[in-house]
Symmetry: C2
Subunit: 215 residues, 2 copies
Amino acid sequence: MKIGIIGAGNVGQSIGRRLAEKGHFVVVSFARSSEKLAAAAAAIGHDARVGTPGEAANAADVVVLATPWAATLDAAREIAPVVAGKVIWDTTNPLKADMSGLEIGTTTSGGEEVAKAVPTANVVKAVPPMAELMAISGPLSIEGRAPGVFVCGDDADARSVVLQLVGDLGADGVDAGPLANARYTEPLGMLLVQLAYLQGMGASIGSSLLRERAS
Amino acid sequence: MKIGIIGAGNVGQSIGRRLAEKGHFVVVSFARSSEKLAAAAAAIGHDARVGTPGEAANAADVVVLATPWAATLDAAREIAPVVAGKVIWDTTNPLKADMSGLEIGTTTSGGEEVAKAVPTANVVKAVPPMAELMAISGPLSIEGRAPGVFVCGDDADARSVVLQLVGDLGADGVDAGPLANARYTEPLGMLLVQLAYLQGMGASIGSSLLRERAS
């Protein structure tokens, strides 16, 4: 396919290179200077070309948006006239510039609301594996792995206690930092419900954090 | 530990049984009738007791909130007087009753905002693996698994195109349904950023959907 990439940073370059290696034809656009754009095309290799966002989008079967979030909506509006009916792959993450949260989309979490209701307790949020999985007897396992459970709370000792209990369940607990991170873990629970019941995957699913572990 | 469970449904019962099997002492509370509560205690086994939420919370080292979301904040307020300094494990998922979304916490997504900016295109949201992982050469792999990428969009053909490209990247693409589900997948990207850079795990992490696959 012809791939038009809007955004010449790490994400745009890596996606461009990996797709070019698979035989896709890549046009890359949107850098701070023509030198940086040329360097991005060179890093992608495989005869990748450079262009303006409009040129990259116009020539493409699929447009990959790989801009910093702050530039994303302007870039989208810029290419809007030439993308009718085309597939746009939006890879952006609407992170705040200091990575402290999402610019849009989340406002609070159930865990934070519970903490307001019991202000003197140490609330720890950890959405367990799917109820149907836990209801069976024996070890929790899907594809040979224990399903993951993210554990968020503002008190490190309280998180440790819940991490132990999560381990006693047979799940793979992950220390996920402060309670406000429940804004990012609760939606994952919602996603699993969507996949299981609305997308038809069924309840034998779970999420897992892949990471290198100390042996 | 002494575990006080608020909520006698599937989640409360399964967590109770699994923790009781590990030697924790369980008191279960909060059912529609005393018969259902007694049945929950019997299902948990291992001498699990029944009580009121206040009794369960008062006796416990750790209080497990396993209520339906609609009852959660009232239940939390009910036990508030007896949980000062205690660990409360909040397992609840603030789902709408019809599972169509979260009651609180999410309002929109980057993908949906991009779609508003390019209304004639088929926007597909798929947050790729960590940029540092993609920047290396060779297969994407952590713990022997390809990192997962959730693919959301309102047009099934457009989702298929992006799923193919995600596979060409070397990632494990998952069809995650409509674009509005980006409300649940984008926070996962944010969570990985938090874990990598703010919780000190480093960038060699990824998420994976565990599911039974057709062989």
